[in-house]
Structure formats: C-alpha cells, structure tokens
Amino acid sequence: MSDKEIPGDLKFQKTHEWVRVEQDGTVTVGISDHAQGALGDLVYVELPEVGSSVQAGNGVAVVESVKAASDIYAPVSGEITEVNTVLSDKPETINEDAFGDGWIFKMKLDDKSELDGLLTADEYAEVAENDDH
C-alpha cells in the first residue's frame, strides 16, 4: 500500500487530519491517505452533528477500522456545516479516496488565523514518514 502523493493545497494536523480551505472560506476536513493506510479497512464512521459548535483540538468524529477506533480532532474552532453522509454506508470511501470523496465534514471557521497554526503538506509528509518507524 504505497502512500499517495499529498496534495499541496492541503493543510494538516499532526494527528493526521487534512484541511482544505474552500473558495467561500469554509473548510473541508478528512484524514490523510497515510492515516487510512495505517488504520486499515474502515468499517464505521461516527459523524458530528451539523450545526454543532466545536473547539480546535477536540474530538468531533470517530473512524473505526477493523483494527481500532480513532478520534478525529477539529483542526479549527467553528460550526459544523455539512457531514459526508455517504460514509455512514460506505466508510471504505475513506480507504479508496482519503483526500477526495472520503472527506468527513465541513465547517465554518470562527477565526481564520487558526489556519496558520496547521502544518503544510511538506511538514506533514515528514510527520507521516517518522510515524512509520
């Protein structure tokens, strides 16, 4: 299972969530291809509630693979605006396309400057590599 190339427009947390800033200023959040590979086949995703307010660093969703349950932490503070309901029936979408169709939720940010604290794709690539050892 070779890790796919990490899209350069994404930002990351060291806990393996990716963040994409959309044109309307909202953000989309998922987990990295590296993370899905480490977790193995996903069998369940517990999605957050649309409309709920979340704090950066708090657990807001859970992905469960055949091996383990893993928390997904909010990368920024704000309000959940949309969740990927496809994952309820097809959690394996994350295995198939972690950076695309396997997105988990979208949110409206309280404070755009929180994005500055996230990792660049290159910085995250290093985290992922060290994680392998």
């Binding site: 299972m1 193995g40 369940y44 469960e64 055949v66 091996k67 349950a69």
Partner: protein, 369 residues
C-alpha cells in the same frame, strides 16, 4: 528483542504491515484485511504461524503424564496422528493456555501452544514432567503455515508428490500425518485450523518454509495476516488466549466446558477446583453478542445486562456478517436486555449462540435476529 520468523523478509516484500505480536514481528495485513478474510472464507488463504510453539514430549509415560497435565482426556486419542484441543489448567482451575495435543506414538506426543505464553507454558510443563521422566523438547527449528479455506486442501495437495496425494486427501478432521512434501521437504500435515474453514496447518523445517510459502502462492493461495486470522476465528466462535480466557478464568466461564473431561478417576491438574465450582455454581458465563446498529464492539467495552455488568472480551467487525460481533463475560443468570457502552452511548445488542459463521455461511439467526 523481537523475534522474526523465517518468512519475515517474504512478508516485507509483499508490503505487509508488521506489528509486534507476543514478542514476534508479524504481518497484520498485506493489503485489505477484509479481502484477506474473504479469500479464506471463499477460496484459500495462508498464514505464517511459525511464531507458535511446537513442543515434543517423549518418554514411556507420556500418555499418563498428559492425563494429568491437561483437562481434556488424551485417552480419546487412540489412532496415531489424532489431535485433541484442550486447556492446560493450574490448581485453581485457571487456564494457563489452550493447546493442541497430537498423538504420534505411545512414547511421543506433540503439543502446539501459543506464542505469547511460550515461556510460562514450557516452565509449567517441564515442572510437571519431572515426576514422569518425560523429555520436553521445544522445536524452534520448525516453521508453520496454516492453509485455510474451502479450496485450501486441494491447493496444497496438488503440490504433494502424486503417491502422497490420496493419503493426504483421506486425512480426517483433527488428524495429522507425517509425509513427504514438494521437492522432498518433510511435512507434518494436520487437518486443523483457527478460521472455521477446512484446511491444513503444516509444520515444516525453517529451512524449507519460504519455499513452501512461495509454492503455495504460485498455486493461488492468498497470503493473509493475523488481522484476518483474528476476525475469522472470532466469527468461527473460537477463543483467543489472553483475551477470552487466562488464569483468572475457568473453562466453565469461557465456554470451554466441551473441552473438559470429568472421566472417572482421572486426577488432572485443576480438576478439584473445577468440580467445586460446578457444585457451587459457576458465577460467570461467556456469551456471544451481535450488534445490529452500526459501530464496532471492542475488547474492554462495558456490557450492561439486567443482572449486572460485564465486559467485551474479543470483539470486532465480522466481514462475513457485515456487522459487529463479540464474546462477553457476564454474571450467570438471566441477562434480559443487554446493552454495550460505546463511548458513553448505550447500544442494544443481541445475545446469541456461537459460532457466528460456519463453513463460510452465517449461522441462522445471527444476521437477522
């Protein structure tokens, strides 16, 4: 220090994700664990189980020694090659390990014990063996490959010399033969397994195990990791030592009553404690659980029953069923409505008989309650 089997490099070449398993560096999966699971249920898969410990017992009084050592009765083994699944208990009736005993000759029995319990098992067996003059010999020079699935036997038999094939084909369940394998390699071929499917567990010298593995791959047997092995055995209703039972649990409390033989006059270690518990009433039972809601039952989750609390022992997603199943230990008695605490949410589950899956198919009532 992590031990490596002879197949370690083969696993890495196949891109396996490796994990520490009882001090051994083992493959958890090569790609999709779920696909590996289905390969075994529908066709043929193979597992490197070389980490398991082969122990040979020799001496004139070997059978007599085993009558004392294990809770099942080795007198059931009358034909050379026959195998018996049993628990080895301490004086309190707690399970030291579960193992398979093979009867080869009156003065030669073979045990296969778990990897994680190797040291304590050997120490216990050696201690008990002294009085019987038994020689206890670990056989680290052997590797082991489990070839499992509805097509597993034929795929392996096809690799054997022609004059051996019929004999291998006729080998009954839970029996073993020593025979010549491909390219003259010596095999100990046992029709046993830990997946709920037919197949063989093959003991082979370490020097030949890579060769056997590659031949099986060429014959279309899919490498499968310990992750798939775990979901397969869970679906098949088979206990995992350390998770479903250990020294703090008797076989009565681990759904292993069928392995206890209270035959007249046989004084095996732990018998007194087992009989006392049976008379007094067994306080806990192991049950099967199915969760119809989405989510995954996992080891350690709290289980809430009408008559008290318990916990999930082995639990996980069952690929054959598309839902989660588990074993749980609960207080004996009427459990009523049962729920499992998953991250603070109480999710209803059904108490069911297990195995959950047999011969590739869900058992009646497992998928739809």
């Amino acid at each position: 220090m992590t031990d490596k089997t002879e197949l370690n490099a083969s696993h890495r070449e196949l891109g396996a994700r490796m994990v520490d398993f009882g001090g051994w560096d083992m493959p958890i999966a090569y790609g999709s664990q779920i696909e590996e699971h289905h390969s075994v249920r529908k066709d043929a898969g193979m597992f490197d189980v070389s980490h398991m410990t082969v122990v040979d017992l020799t001496g004139e009084r070997t059978r007599e020694f085993l009558r004392k050592l294990v809770a099942n009765n080795v007198d059931k083994l009358t034909k050379s090659g026959k195998a018996l699944y049993t628990c080895m208990l301490d004086e309190t009736g707690g399970v030291i390990d579960d193992l398979i005993v093979y009867f080869l000759r009156e003065d030669f029995f073979r045990l296969v014990v778990n990897a994680a319990t190797r040291a304590k098992d050997l120490a216990w067996i050696e201690k008990q063996a002294v009085a019987f003059g038994i020689t206890v010999r670990e056989r680290p020079e052997f590797g082991m490959v489990a070839v499992q699935g509805p097509n597993a036997r034929e795929k392996l038999i096809g690799l054997l010399p022609e004059d051996i094939r019929e004999k291998a084909r006729k080998l009954g369940k839970f029996a073993a033969i020593e025979c010549e394998g491909p390219n003259g390699m010596p095999l100990f071929l046992a029709r046993t397994g830990y997946t709920g499917e037919d197949g063989f567990e093959v003991v082979v010298p370490n020097t030949r195990v890579v060769e056997l593995w590659n031949l099986l791959r060429d014959a279309g047997v899919a490498p499968a990791g310990l992750g798939a092995r775990d979901t397969l055995r869970l679906e098949a209703g088979m206990n995992l030592y350390g998770q479903d039972m250990d020294e703090t649990v008797t076989p009565w409390e681990a759904s292993l009553a069928w392995t206890i033989s209270l035959d007249e006059g046989r004084d095996f270690i732990g018998r007194e404690a087992l009989e006392k518990q049976k008379t007094d009433g067994v306080p806990r039972v192991m049950v099967g659980l199915v969760m119809d809601e989405k989510g995954v039952l996992r080891h350690g989750q709290k289980v809430l029953a009408a008559n008290g609390e318990g916990e999930i022992l082995s639990g996980g997603f069952a690929p054959t069923l598309g839902k989660s199943v588990a074993f749980a230990r609960l207080p004996a008695g009427d459990h009523g409505e049962v729920r499992v605490d998953i991250r603070g949410r109480e999710v209803p589950v059904r108490v069911v008989k297990f195995p959950f899956v047999r011969d590739g198919q869900p058992m009646p009532g497992i998928v739809d309650g």
